[in-house]
């Protein structure tokens, strides 16, 4: 396995992956338009509840579409076209091919996360209370959903099948947002999903919402403690998804 990556080769591959993303209208739609669309929710009100819901939905979409679904679809279609097999016959290393495949979607995720800040402020929302935690949460979520994509690709037969095989991860991502609707005992379990961790991190680090509801209950110092558990949840998921992905990696189509 590779010990170091060549930045030049990663840049080359990532650049052409980005070009390919723009050549495919459907991919461009779910890669760029879908993650930006939920920001329109900010226009529906200026209280913290609307703000938190909008940002959580936006970042969930940004993790699911440009990162998860895009990486999954690109990996599967490149595998079917034997592009991955051909690339591996050259000097590029496996890790470089994988990182480059994820980079365009990952860049969109980070861009949406950054763009959301001025847009939210313009819509009357508060400045993020702890931008560092917010940013770390976004970066970790991106890594996690990339790993989910590679794992899902292993048992996705072709690009069409991805519409179905993506469901378990989509479910893991959106369940967290519904957490408030569940009874306490179920909620304790749901809180351990990546979607719930992302929801918690955005509500606390940006809006200071420590409890269900729309009252700010946390100050800057509290946000660190509030972030500990959901960040740990994300790291554990990254370990699990990375392990699953690495043991099930398939580079060539099923014959």
């Amino acid at each position: 396995m590779a010990t170091t990556l060549s930045p030049a080769r990663v840049r080359t591959l990532a650049r052409w992956n980005a070009v390919l993303l723009t050549r495919n209208r459907l991919a461009l739609f779910y890669g760029v338009v879908l993650p930006l669309a939920p920001l329109l929710l900010l226009l529906t009100g200026d209280d913290a509840g609307v703000g938190a819901a909008s940002i959580v939905t936006t970042m969930t979409f940004a993790a699911l579409f440009p990162v998860f679904y895009n990486v999954l679809a690109q990996f599967v279609s490149r595998r079917d076209e034997l592009v991955l097999k051909r690339l591996r016959s050259g000097e590029a290393r496996d890790a470089e091919i994988l990182v480059a495949l994820a980079l365009p979607g990952y860049a969109i995720l980070v861009l949406v996360a950054v763009l959301a800040i001025p847009l939210a402020i313009a819509a009357g929302q508060p400045v993020p209370l702890n931008p560092l935690v917010y940013l770390v949460a976004v970066l970790l979520v991106g890594v996690l959903f990339t790993a989910f994509a590679f794992w899902t690709a292993a048992w996705t037969r072709n690009a069409e099948a991805a519409q179905l095989t993506s469901m378990p991860v989509v479910f893991l991502a959106v369940m967290g947002q519904m957490s408030v609707a569940f009874p306490d005992r179920v909620r304790d379990v749901v809180d351990l999903t990546p979607g719930a961790a992302l929801t918690d991190l955005i509500r606390t680090s940006w809006f200071g919402l420590g409890e269900p509801g729309t009252e700010r209950t946390l100050d800057f110092a509290d946000t660190w403690a509030a972030a500990a558990q959901p960040l740990l949840v994300l790291v554990v998921w990254i370990g699990l998804a990375g392990w699953l992905a690495s043991r099930s990696m398939r580079w060539e189509p099923r014959t």
Binding site: R23, V83, R86, G90
Partner: protein, 232 residues
């Protein structure tokens, strides 16, 4: 990695993104390859310059194969592995690939070609390995491999034949003579025809070709039940 840098590999099937153009595909590969030639040189080499801005998706099978070869030749490989490089190519492109392989061979590149085309092997190889049923059954230079295999003489069948000490067979209106001494048998045959005023239409005489050697091997050595059939 050092090995990858000094070798070129052409897989049996091409793998390209259909949405990139020929030039873009080569640009990408040149970003992944150490010490590349200019993309335009490689486009000329493989007669793809006219198709440079066409999407790979709309290329013909032969053009895709040439693009594949172009990617392989972007670097300056010392050892080149080509897995059936001319499968699916039209005769003109096939000759082009042969010229290319000869040029590389003459400039000191070691080229390892697998092929199902015997005339290709005969035209290109300094050394041949014939594989049958997963085993190498003959090795050597093309003339060494053909050595000891009978030559053939064929002509349109005539009512009477001279008495020659060779294997004679008839198929589809042709008479075939198989002989270990082509010169002598041919002389005997021609002298006989001369004396009788017999015209031998469609007369051909040739030493053993790789094809005849290969067919002999395939017929004489049955495929063992445990292994699958091999190529050449």
């Amino acid at each position: 990695m050092e090995v990858r840098r000094r070798t070129g590999l052409l897989l049996q099937s091409s793998g390209f993104s259909g949405d990139l153009t020929v030039r873009e595909t080569l640009l990408m590969w040149s970003g992944l390859t150490t010490g590349t030639r200019p993309v335009d040189d490689v486009l000329d080499l493989l007669r793809l310059a006219g198709r440079a801005d066409v999407a790979v998706r709309v290329l013909s099978g032969g053009e895709q194969r040439r693009l594949d070869l172009a990617c392989t030749l972007l670097g300056h490989p010392e050892v080149l592995f080509l897995d059936e490089p001319t499968t699916g190519l039209d005769p003109e492109s096939r000759r082009g690939v042969w010229e290319l392989v000869r040029g590389l061979r003459d400039s000191g590149t070691t080229v390892l070609v697998t092929t199902h085309y015997l005339e290709e092997a005969e035209a290109l190889a300094d050394r041949l390995e014939i594989m049958h049923a997963g085993r190498i059954v003959r090795s050597g230079a093309p003339h060494e491999i053909a050595e000891g295999h009978p030559a053939t003489i064929q002509f349109l069948s005539v009512p009477e034949l001279p008495d020659l000490p060779v294997e004679i067979s008839h198929e589809r209106g042709l008479t075939l003579l198989r002989t270990d001494d082509l010169q002598r048998t041919l002389t005997d045959l021609l002298v006989w025809a001369q004396r009788r005023g017999q015209v031998l239409d469609g007369l051909q005489a040739r030493s053993a070709t790789l094809e005849s050697v290969f067919l002999d091997i395939a017929n004489a050595e049955p495929v063992p039940a445990t292994s699958t059939s091999g190529g050449q």
